[in-house]
Every structure is written in structure tokens, then in C-alpha cells.
């Protein structure tokens, strides 16, 4: 360590209690920032998983005519021969599964009660593996076979028509060619969907039954692709259209993030809260440190006068005080990092259950992620913050008149 760093360190220790208190603020600030970053990261991960499960996969493959269309407009455009498309997709080793989705709407009737629904035709086995619906069954059993005349209803929807698992309901809809069709189906399950607006309207039907109802065999609004690894999403979104076009099957590919407005809003909100909290912490650290350093300059006025008198450059006096500030920041951050890691380990081992994140059905065990960037940024931000806090007192020290400083009482 350089001679000046040693001197700065000893000056910090000169008023141990004061340095301890100021350093504690740095430590707490560092721990708060890194723990919050870890917690927010885990929340984002949970929310991301929930969002992907709500879609049923990472990518949605649409007919090329859906390019540039809104979701509502794209919903009326059907892909032809989805099994052939799924066959092409099955060659991609990054893909777990590809399932068709048929979207439709209409009325579901039981006895003299009816309610509007938003329906999804899907392959039960694939849907069960990939989708949020599988997690939300509150009564009955998940759809059994692809050709069975069965439905699953959201709790709100089932309540609206007085249906329960095992009941027979009539599902009516408008076919793509403008006709009206209906099918009698057994309520296989009632779902407790986590979003009320959907819970009041949602209906699932096996793809085979839905295709018959819509007279759209082999067609699908989209094919939803589940990837093995989330990190492949962007690459696959870029490569798949090219690969499929080369195979004579042009498509439009959208990622789960393209339509995840809720996820984006929550993420933006959390990041805003995180930065606001960080800003408040930085202000607290700046004020506390500036106060400590100002007191230090005041108490050491004669000493500063001596240093100037024997020929120390003013810039060196300033640097000495800035060094004290940076040192406090680095040491405080170092202790904060150790405490943060210990606290993280303790919390992660505690098994505390958290409530479900927005849009999810199950809570998660508390897990604070280790974010190396947050620790690195914490060191950087704390050092810069302390540097800023020490700047004014250091400037004041450097501008002292040596004659007046030597006579300071």
C-alpha cells in the first residue's frame, strides 16, 4: 500500500467511532443494493417463467400474412398444415416441443345459462407439459385425449353457467367461414386461473375437438415452440424464419417477450423502484460522508496548514482527503460484500415461501440471486459516491490559507 494510502487509512482510524458509523452506512447501503438486486433478479426470473408458461412456450410461429398485423388481426389468420410445420421444427435440437393453438370464441351453455368464452384448442399432452393451465386445475382432471369432446373452464366462467367437473356443456362458436357450429363437451376440469379477467372467460378444448368445431382440421392460429434453454430465444427467433423459409415454409416468429406487455410493465416498475431506492441510499451516503469529512477537515485545520507550509501541493492535500473517502468506500463495500453474501446464504437456506409473483399461481421459495454485476457496480457506485461526498471537504482543505490554518484554534 502506498504511503498516502497508509496515511489515509490511519486518518480514518483516528476517529474510529465516527468512521465506523459512516462506514456502517456504506456497508448497509451496499448490502441493500446487492440484496435488492438479487431479489429483483429472482422476481424477474419467476415472472419470466410464469409469462412463458402462460404463453405455453418461448416462440409463436404465425402465418407470414400475420406480419405487421396486430394480435387481433393476426388471430383471424390461420396457418395451414401445422403437422408439417411441426415436423420441420422437430429437426431443431434446441426445441422441446411445438404445439398448435387454435383460438376461438363464442358462448358456452349449460341448461338455461350461457356465458361468453375465449377458447383455446390445444394438444392436451403438450399443453400439460408447457402451460400454466396445468398448474391451475382446482377440480377434475386435465384434458385427456386430443380427440375427446372435453373442455376445461376458468372458475369464473364455470360459476357463471353453474358448471362443475363432469357436467355436460354446449360450446358454440362461429367458424372461419362465417357459419355457426356447436359441440357438446364434458367439463374435464375447472381451472383457478391467476388473472381474473381470463378466469372469467377462459376455456380449453383438445385440438381435435376444437378443429372439428371450427371446421379447421390441420389449421392453427399459431404453433407455440418450447425451447430447452431460455437463452436461445433471440437466436431461434432470428434463425427459425430463415431455416423454415429455406425449407419452403415461410413464417413469422414472435418471441414471448414481444407480447408480454405485463412482464415489461412489471419489470420497468421494479427497475424504477430499484433505482429510486439506490438514489436515496446514495444521497444518504453522500450526506453522512460529507458531514464526517467536513468535521475531519475542521479538526485537522492546523495539520493541513502544516502540510501546506512545508510545501505540500494543494492538489496533494485534496487528493489525500479524496483518498480517505475512496478508501472508506472500498473498505465499506468490501465488508458489505461479505455481509451480503452471508445474508444471502442464510436467506436462501431459510426456505421462506414468497407469495406468487404477478400472473403466477404458485409462490416460490425465497432465493436471492448472486448478481456479480451488482457487486461490481456496488463497489464502483460506492467508491464514486464517497468520492463525490469527499470532494467538497477535500476542496475546502486544499484551499485553506496556510497562515490562517496554522493559527486555527
Amino acid at each position: 500500500m502506498s504511503r498516502w494510502a497508509v496515511l489515509a487509512a490511519r486518518n480514518l482510524l483516528r476517529h474510529g467511532r465516527r468512521t465506523f458509523l459512516t462506514g456502517s452506512i456504506v456497508v448497509v447501503g451496499f448490502v441493500a443494493v446487492t440484496m435488492t438486486a438479487g431479489f429483483v433478479s429472482q422476481t424477474f426470473s419467476s415472472l419470466k417463467r410464469a409469462t412463458i408458461r402462460s404463453v405455453g412456450g418461448h416462440l409463436r410461429i404465425l402465418d407470414p400474412r400475420a406480419a405487421g398485423k396486430t394480435d387481433d388481426e393476426a388471430a383471424t389468420i390461420l396457418l395451414d398444415d401445422w403437422p408439417a410445420l411441426a415436423g420441420l421444427l422437430s429437426r431443431d435440437t434446441r426445441i422441446v416441443q411445438a404445439m398448435p393453438k387454435l383460438s376461438f370464441f363464442g358462448l358456452v351453455v349449460k341448461g338455461d345459462k350461457s356465458a361468453a368464452y375465449l377458447g383455446t384448442g390445444t394438444i392436451p399432452a403438450l399443453e400439460k407439459q408447457a402451460s400454466l393451465a396445468a398448474d391451475t386445475v382446482v377440480s377434475g382432471a386435465f384434458l385427456s385425449r386430443n380427440d375427446a369432446d372435453e373442455v376445461m373452464l376458468g372458475t369464473g366462467l364455470s360459476r357463471a353457467i353453474g358448471a362443475k367437473a363432469g357436467d355436460l356443456v354446449t360450446v358454440m362458436t362461429t367458424t372461419p367461414d362465417g357459419g355457426i357450429n356447436a359441440v357438446d363437451a364434458t367439463v374435464a376440469a375447472v381451472l383457478g386461473y391467476p388473472i381474473k379477467e381470463l378466469d372469467d372467460r377462459i376455456l380449453f378444448m383438445p385440438y381435435g375437438a376444437a378443429a372439428r368445431l371450427l371446421k379447421a382440421e390441420g389449421k392453427a392460429n399459431s404453433v407455440v415452440v418450447l425451447l430447452k434453454d431460455d437463452r436461445d430465444t433471440a437466436r431461434e427467433a432470428e434463425e427459425l424464419p430463415r431455416a423454415l423459409a429455406a425449407a419452403g415454409r415461410p413464417v413469422v416468429v414472435k418471441t414471448w417477450l414481444d407480447t408480454a406487455a405485463f412482464y415489461k410493465q412489471v419489470r420497468l416498475l421494479y427497475i424504477s423502484i430499484f433505482f429510486f431506492m439506490g438514489l436515496v441510499l446514495a444521497v444518504v451516503v453522500v450526506l453522512a460522508t460529507a458531514n464526517t469529512m467536513t468535521m475531519s477537515v475542521f479538526e485537522r485545520t492546523r495539520e493541513i496548514g502544516t502540510l501546506l507550509a512545508i510545501g505540500m501541493e494543494r492538489s496533494s492535500v485534496r487528493a489525500l482527503f479524496l483518498l480517505e473517502g475512496i478508501l472508506l468506500g472500498v473498505i465499506g463495500s468490501g465488508i458489505g460484500a461479505v455481509l451480503s453474501l452471508l445474508l444471502r446464504a442464510a436467506l436462501n437456506a431459510s426456505g421462506i415461501m414468497l407469495p406468487p409473483p404477478p400472473g403466477a399461481t404458485h409462490g416460490n421459495v425465497l432465493h436471492v440471486d448472486f448478481i456479480p454485476l451488482a457487486y461490481g457496480a456496488g463497489f464502483g457506485v460506492m467508491s464514486v459516491t464517497l468520492l463525490v461526498a469527499a470532494w467538497w471537504p477535500a476542496r475546502r482543505a486544499a484551499r485553506l490559507n496556510p497562515v490562517e490554518a496554522l493559527g486555527h484554534v
Binding site: R3, R14, R302, G305, T306, A309, E313
Partner: protein, 233 residues
């Protein structure tokens, strides 16, 4: 060539709405082998004149020539460089850095010259030995007596091998015996190292031992007396 020439130095201060004369038209020449004292009652301007001559303060008027060069118009950095390299200071209170050992306090005067650490340390130890503090290098100021602290301050002043050592009331906070030993030390350093000394003091022991007695009164040089060797204490 004299080490220092002051011509008509004037310094005034503002005290509220009033302007107070610190030094008025001070003219003097100091030789390289001077062992001089600026004497006078409290408030006569001794410290003000010493600060001007030591480049700690700037005059309102007049010129100051140090080692043949006009330093009146030197900027802050130039004056700091001269203080660092050619001048030594001993203050009334020792003004040591409490968190540094005796050796480090002395080395500090060389650290600010950015000299290598081993050179700073070895020269600091030699200076401490020279002032009679061998073996106390590792002690911090609070573990030293008042006289020892002042000797550390002297070591700090001489370690840079200055041409001129300025001492402002160096014995004021010392008892008579300690002050006497400190004066002996000053005299020995003056003889052995050929360093010019300029004291500011009203301590009769210093005045009696000085070869030059510059008396100030109300900021003016009232008398400037060169004392033959035989007439000194």
C-alpha cells in the same frame, strides 16, 4: 550573495471594516550564515514578517529576493516548491501529524518531494539521530515529551537540507531547560550544516544567542543589530 533580501515589504489585514498593518515597509538582507532573530513584543508583526519571508504569505507591496531570484511574483505552486526544497519550518507548537511515527513525520517532508521510500526513511532516521532521538523513530507524537516532539519538528525541518530554517516562537511551549537544549541543537545544526536560521521570538534566550537582532515595533523594523561573537550569550 545574501540568501534573502526583502525590500519595503508591506502587509495589511482586514479586521472587520478596519485595515490593520501587519508589516510596514520592512527592508532587510539576510546572509547565508545568519543566525538571526526577529524580536519584538506581541502584536509587533514578528510572525507576519516571518510568514512573508518564509513564502507562507504574500506581501501587498515590496519585493522579496531569495537566493538571487525575485520570488515576489511567484505563484502558489512555485512558492510551495521553494518551501519544500529550500526552506525548513519549526512552529511554536510542534505541529506533527499525530497518526504518523516520529520517523514518518520526518519522512513526510521528503514524501511530498516524491522521493523513493527507502531514501525518505533512511534520511529521516539520520535526521532523528542528529537531533538526539535515535531509538525513538517508531513512537508517535503522543508518546513523546514536548521537547522530543519539538526535536522531531526540527528533524523534519532539516531533513530536506534547507538553505534557510525559519522558526516561529520555537521555545514558547517548552520549559526553560528543554528550551535551552533546543537552542543548543539549533546552534549545532547552524554550525555543522551551515543552515541560515531566522527566528521569530521574544524569548530573551534566543535573542541573546542570535548574531542578528531585528527589532520590530508596530510592524516596522525599529532596529537591526548585528552582534559580534563576543557579545552573544
Amino acid at each position: 550573495m545574501p540568501i534573502l533580501e526583502a525590500r519595503a515589504l508591506t502587509k495589511t489585514y482586514r479586521l472587520g471594516d478596519e485595515r490593520v498593518v501587519g508589516v510596514q515597509g520592512a527592508t532587510l538582507t539576510l546572509e547565508k550564515d545568519a543566525f538571526a532573530v526577529i524580536a519584538g513584543p506581541s502584536g509587533s508583526g514578528k510572525t507576519t514578517l516571518l510568514n512573508l519571508l518564509g513564502l507562507l504569505d504574500t506581501p501587498d507591496a515590496g519585493t522579496l529576493v531569495f537566493e538571487g531570484a525575485d520570488v515576489s511574483a511567484l505563484d502558489e505552486r512555485g512558492r510551495a516548491r521553494l518551501r519544500r526544497e529550500r526552506l525548513g519550518f519549526v512552529f511554536q507548537a510542534h505541529q506533527l501529524v499525530p497518526v504518523l511515527s516520529a520517523e514518518e513525520n520526518v519522512a513526510l517532508a521528503l514524501w511530498i518531494r516524491r522521493l523513493p521510500e527507502h531514501e525518505c526513511r533512511s534520511r529521516a532516521r539520520a535526521a532523528l539521530l542528529d537531533v538526539g532521538l535515535g531509538g525513538l523513530e517508531g513512537r508517535r507524537p503522543d508518546a513523546l515529551s514536548g521537547g522530543q516532539r519539538q526535536r522531531v519538528a526540527v528533524a523534519r525541518a532539516i531533513v530536506g537540507e534547507p538553505a534557510l530554517l525559519l522558526a516561529d516562537e520555537p521555545t514558547a511551549s517548552l520549559d526553560s531547560e528543554t528550551a535551552g537544549r533546543l537552542l543548543d541543537l539549533f546552534a549545532r545544526i547552524h554550525e555543522e550544516r551551515r543552515v541560515a536560521f531566522l527566528f521569530s521570538s521574544h524569548d530573551p534566550r534566543i535573542v541573546e544567542r542570535a548574531d542578528r537582532r531585528i527589532h520590530l515595533s508596530d510592524g516596522r523594523i525599529a532596529s537591526d543589530e548585528r552582534v559580534p561573537a563576543g557579545a552573544r550569550a
